[in-house]
């Protein structure tokens, strides 16, 4: 059944309804750029305290409901979080 094949692995005849749903629901993907959690090596010497600044960063994001609730609000959010490899939001290193 071609419709099922499209739903399964995007082969066969495209199903217009599935395509429409992909397009609409795709806006719910995470707009947050990948920011890896602190590496284990960095956390070990500091035990729990090592995570605190990062956790506080999470807390501050929670206090901005308009931002966290927005759908596909990439630009506004991206400005708050540095791109991967350039540092982490609210995470101090030593």
């Amino acid at each position: 059944m071609s419709d099922d094949d499209y739903l399964w692995n995007r082969t066969g005849r495209p199903d217009p309804e599935v395509e429409r749903l992909e397009q609409v629901l795709g806006t719910l993907r995470s707009a947050r750029p990948p920011v890896p959690p602190p590496a284990l090596a960095d956390e070990r010497p500091r035990a729990r305290r090592g995570l605190l600044p990062w956790a506080l960063g999470l807390g501050s994001r929670r206090r901005r409901p308009a931002e966290s609730c927005s759908v596909g609000a990439g630009p506004g959010r991206s400005a708050q979080v540095p791109p991967r490899g350039t540092g982490r939001a609210g995470c101090s290193r030593r």
Binding site: N9, L21, L25, S30, V35, P36, A39, W54, S68
Partner: protein, 192 residues
């Protein structure tokens, strides 16, 4: 630094066995303190975790819960017995984290799609309304539909990443989509 290629390699391996082997290599590197390996694990599995969380929690909470899942996973990485099973192991952490979140929160009315306009006709389709319909489906259908329609994963990818059998994923996608079509059709009929 360990770099694991995706894209073309993934296309040649739709079932994802190469991805599983790559995961094992990335986990080993991450355990040794390779930050890039951690980043690659995050990038590869972020959509799966996001989808599993979104199947169980309100959209507004999802990003924060995803971050918490990864923090928990990185802390426990040393206890993962089979590095090749990183995906299913991470999926279990995600499911448990959302269950904990539900237990700890003060009960409130569901997020509420109940008050949302049921019309999904034409171009005025609202992602949040459709998500509300998906949230009304049984959990197994919810998970696979969200991973497929929101995160853009194919059935074979869903099976490989979550550890579910391909057959289960296929059945859940088929039945879930059938129920969602019924729901969408019914709502379009209800439109003013």
């Amino acid at each position: 630094m360990l770099v694991v290629k995706s894209g073309a390699a993934a296309e040649e391996d739709p079932v994802g066995t190469t991805a599983i082997e790559d995961d094992a290599a990335l986990v080993a590197a991450a355990r040794a303190g390779d930050r890039d390996a951690l980043g690659q694990l995050y990038e590869r599995h972020g959509p799966m975790v996001h989808g599993l969380v979104l199947a169980r929690a309100p959209h507004a909470e999802t990003d924060d819960l995803v971050q918490e899942v990864f923090v928990q996973a990185m802390r426990k990485l040393g206890s993962l017995r089979d590095p090749a099973a990183f995906g299913p192991w991470l999926a279990a952490i995600a499911r448990n984290r959302v269950a904990d979140w539900h237990r700890s929160r003060v009960p409130v009315a569901p997020e509420d799609q109940a008050g949302a306009t049921p019309s999904v006709a034409g171009a005025a389709v609202d992602a949040q309304v459709i998500l509300g319909f998906i949230h009304e489906l049984p959990l197994a259908y919810r998970e696979t539909l969200i991973l497929r329609l929101v995160e853009g994963m194919t059935g074979p990818e869903i099976a490989a990443r979550t550890g579910l059998t391909a057959e289960s994923v296929r059945v859940n996608l088929h039945r879930g989509m059938k129920k969602l079509r019924e729901r969408l059709g019914g709502s379009e009929g209800e439109a003013p």
